[in-house]
C-alpha cells in the first residue's frame, strides 16, 4: 500500500491539466473469490495519450481492461470516462461501452459476417445509421488501411494481421473517445505483428487516445507516452518509457525488463 502511494505521488512525466482526462481509474479493486487481482489501482489516461499497460501474465492487465470496458464489475473504486462514472450501476452500460473502441487478442471479427458488415454493425444496429451512410464511412476506413478490396470477404479468408486491422477499423467506426487494445498482437506471428503495430502508430499520430495491454516491449517503448507496469495487482511503475524501461531503479522492475530482453 505505502510504496504504491509513493509511485503515485512522484509522477515522472508532466501531467496535462486535469480537464483533458479521458479515462480515470480511481482506486479500483477487483477480486475473483479470495484472489485480489486489482488492489486499489489508480491512474489517468489523458486526451491524445497512449498508455501501455505492461505486466507479467496474471498481473491483472486483462482484468483491468475488462473492467474499463464494463465486461467485469469492479468490487470497489470508480472508473471515469470523461465526466461519467461508468461504475455507477444506474448508467446505461451499452451506451457507455459504445463510447470505447475495443480490440481483443483474437476472435474479434464475427465469422458469419463479411468484413464490411463487421465494420458497419454497430453503426447500423446500435446507432441506427442508414446502411449507405455506414458503408460509405466503413469503406473510407478500410481504404485507409488498404483493405477496401476485401470488404466482401469473410474473416476466415484474411490473414491474422488483416483480421486485427479490420477489427481496429471496426473499433474506430463510431469515433470512440478511447481505444482499448488488449494484447492485440499476442496471437500473431512476428511478421504480422509489424503491420498491426504500424497501424496503431498511425492512429496515435492522428491523435487517438489509447490504452493498450501488450507484451511487445519494443513497441510499448517507442509508441507509448507512458508506461503503467502492473505487478501482483498493484501499480509498480507509472512513468515515461525512458524512466520506467530504460532507467528503472526498482530491482524487480529491472528484472522484469531484463527477462524480456533475454528472449
Amino acid at each position: 500500500m505505502a510504496d504504491e502511494k509513493l509511485t503515485q505521488a512522484t509522477p515522472t512525466v508532466e501531467h496535462p491539466p486535469i480537464g483533458d482526462v479521458v479515462l480515470r481509474i480511481d482506486n479500483v479493486v477487483k477480486r475473483f473469490g479470495d484472489n485480489t487481482v486489482l488492489d486499489h489501482i489508480s491512474f489517468d489516461v489523458h486526451q491524445h495519450e497512449t498508455v501501455a499497460l505492461l505486466g507479467a501474465s496474471g498481473s491483472g492487465k486483462s482484468t483491468l481492461m475488462k473492467c474499463v470496458n464494463l465486461l467485469e464489475q469492479v468490487n470497489d473504486g470508480q472508473i471515469w470516462l470523461g465526466d461519467t462514472d461508468i461504475t455507477d450501476p444506474r448508467i446505461n452500460m451499452d451506451k457507455q461501452r459504445s463510447r470505447i473502441g475495443v480490440v481483443f487478442q483474437q476472435f474479434n471479427l464475427f465469422s458469419h459476417m463479411t468484413v464490411l458488415n463487421n465494420v458497419t454493425l454497430a453503426a447500423r444496429k446500435v446507432h441506427k445509421w442508414p446502411r449507405e451512410k455506414a458503408e460509405e464511412k466503413a469503406m473510407g476506413l478500410l481504404r485507409r488501411i488498404g483493405m477496401d478490396h476485401k470488404a466482401k470477404e469473410y474473416p476466415d479468408r484474411l490473414s491474422g494481421g488483416q483480421q486485427q486491422r479490420v477489427a481496429i477499423c471496426r473499433a474506430l467506426m463510431m469515433e470512440p473517445e478511447l481505444l482499448l487494445l488488449d494484447e492485440i498482437t499476442s496471437a500473431l506471428d512476428p511478421l504480422l505483428v509489424g503491420e498491426v503495430l504500424e497501424m496503431v502508430g498511425e492512429l496515435k499520430a492522428q491523435g487517438a487516445t489509447i490504452l493498450m495491454a501488450t507484451h511487445e516491449m519494443g513497441f510499448a517503448h517507442d509508441a507509448a507516452d507512458r508506461i503503467v507496469l502492473l505487478r501482483r495487482g498493484h501499480i509498480a511503475e507509472n512513468g515515461s518509457p525512458y524512466d520506467v524501461m530504460d532507467h528503472p531503479t526498482d530491482p524487480e522492475t529491472q528484472e522484469f525488463f531484463a527477462a524480456y530482453n533475454r528472449v
Binding site: 459504445s98 475495443v102 481483443f104 483474437q106 465469422s111 458469419h112 454493425l121 446507432h127
Partner: protein, 285 residues
C-alpha cells in the same frame, strides 16, 4: 476457385500415385465382391426359409401395394402438415428454452429452474407416453371441448422434441468463443442484439448437422400421432391391415417415410461435408 494447373511431378511421386491408384482399384473390387456375396446370402436364406412365400405375400404383395398406396399417401399429407407446424413450434419453444437455460440474472432464476426441470423430464419420458398424456389427458380434463387428434399429436411432438433441441442449441450457443460476445457487447450491442445477431447465427452453424439429424428423427416420430387415432400414413395403413389381414400397407408407409427423409439426409450429408471441407480437418487420418 477451380485450379486447373497441371503440376509436373517427380518420379517418386509418380510411383506413389501409381501405387495408390492400384490400391484404390483393389479396394473397389473387394467392396463390390463382398457386397454381392452379402446380397446373395440374404436372398438364399430368405428363399430357403420355410415361411418365405407367406411372408412375401403378407408384406410384399404387389396387389395390396397398389391398393394401399393412394390412401396411405393421403395420410402422409397429414404427417407433412403436422411436421411443418411442429417444426415451427419446436424452433420457437426449443430456442426459448435454450436461451432461458443460458441466462445468468437472478430475475430469471425461477424460469431457469422450470426450463431445467422441463428438459430433464421431457427427455426422460418415452415419446409415446407424452402422446398419451397430451392426446388423452387434455381432452379428459373436459376444459376445451373437442380438439382434433392431429392438433394434440402436434403439441405432444413439439413438447417432446423441444427438450432435445433446446439442449443441442444450448451446446451450440455456448460453443461460440467468448470473445465474440465480448466484441459484440463492446460495440454497444445489447444482450438481445448480441444473441440475435452474433451468438445464434454462429451457434446454429456449428450444430446444423446435429439439428438436421434430429429433424429427420422427428419426421419419422410424427408417425406416432397415429396412436391417438389421427388418420396419418401409419393409421391409414393400419386401417387397411385391419380389413385385409395383409401387412403390405405398412411397407408402403415405410417407403413413403423413407422417401420423405431422403432429401434431408442428402442435405445433411452435403452440409456436413461442406463444414468439414471448410475446417479442413481430417488430413490423412
Amino acid at each position: 476457385m477451380p485450379n486447373n494447373t497441371v503440376y509436373e511431378v517427380s518420379a517418386v511421386e509418380e510411383e506413389r500415385a501409381q501405387f495408390r491408384r492400384k490400391e484404390a482399384l483393389r479396394s473397389h473390387i473387394t467392396s463390390v465382391v463382398s457386397s454381392l456375396i452379402f446380397v446373395a446370402l440374404v436372398v438364399i436364406v430368405l428363399k430357403n426359409s420355410p415361411g418365405w412365400p407367406r411372408v412375401k405375400e403378407s408384406f410384399f404383395s404387389p396387389e395390396y401395394f397398389a391398393m394401399a398406396w393412394p390412401q396411405v399417401l393421403d395420410g402422409l399429407l397429414l404427417n407433412i402438415r403436422v411436421l411443418g407446424i411442429a417444426l415451427i413450434g419446436v424452433a420457437i419453444l426449443g430456442t426459448s428454452l435454450a436461451l432461458i437455460r443460458m441466462t445468468t440474472s437472478a430475475v430469471m432464476f425461477p424460469l431457469r429452474v422450470v426450463a431445467r426441470f422441463y428438459t430433464t423430464i421431457m427427455r426422460g419420458i418415452p415419446m409415446i407416453v407424452v402422446l398419451y398424456l397430451i392426446g388423452f389427458g387434455i381432452p379428459g380434463l373436459g376444459l376445451f371441448g373437442r380438439i382434433d387428434k392431429a392438433v394434440l399429436g402436434t403439441i405432444a411432438v413439439v413438447m417432446s422434441y423441444s427438450a432435445y433441441i433446446a439442449e443441442v442449441l444450448r451446446a451450440g450457443f455456448q460453443d461460440v468463443h467468448p470473445s465474440q460476445r465480448a466484441s459484440a457487447r463492446s460495440l454497444g450491442l445489447t444482450q438481445a442484439q448480441t444473441m440475435w445477431l452474433v451468438i445464434i447465427p454462429q451457434g446454429l452453424r456449428k450444430i446444423a448437422p446435429a439439428l438436421m439429424n434430429d429433424f429427420i428423427s422427428m419426421q419419422k416420430d410424427v408417425g406416432l400421432i397415429s396412436t391417438l387415432g389421427a388418420i396419418d400414413a401409419v393409421r391409414a395403413a393400419q386401417i387397411i391391415v385391419a380389413k385385409t389381414y395383409n401387412f403390405t400397407p405398412y411397407v408402403v408407409a415405410s417407403i413413403l417415410f423413407i422417401l420423405m427423409s431422403v432429401p434431408f439426409i442428402l442435405l445433411n450429408d452435403w452440409y456436413s461435408e461442406k463444414l468439414r471441407k471448410r475446417e479442413q480437418t481430417g488430413g490423412m487420418v
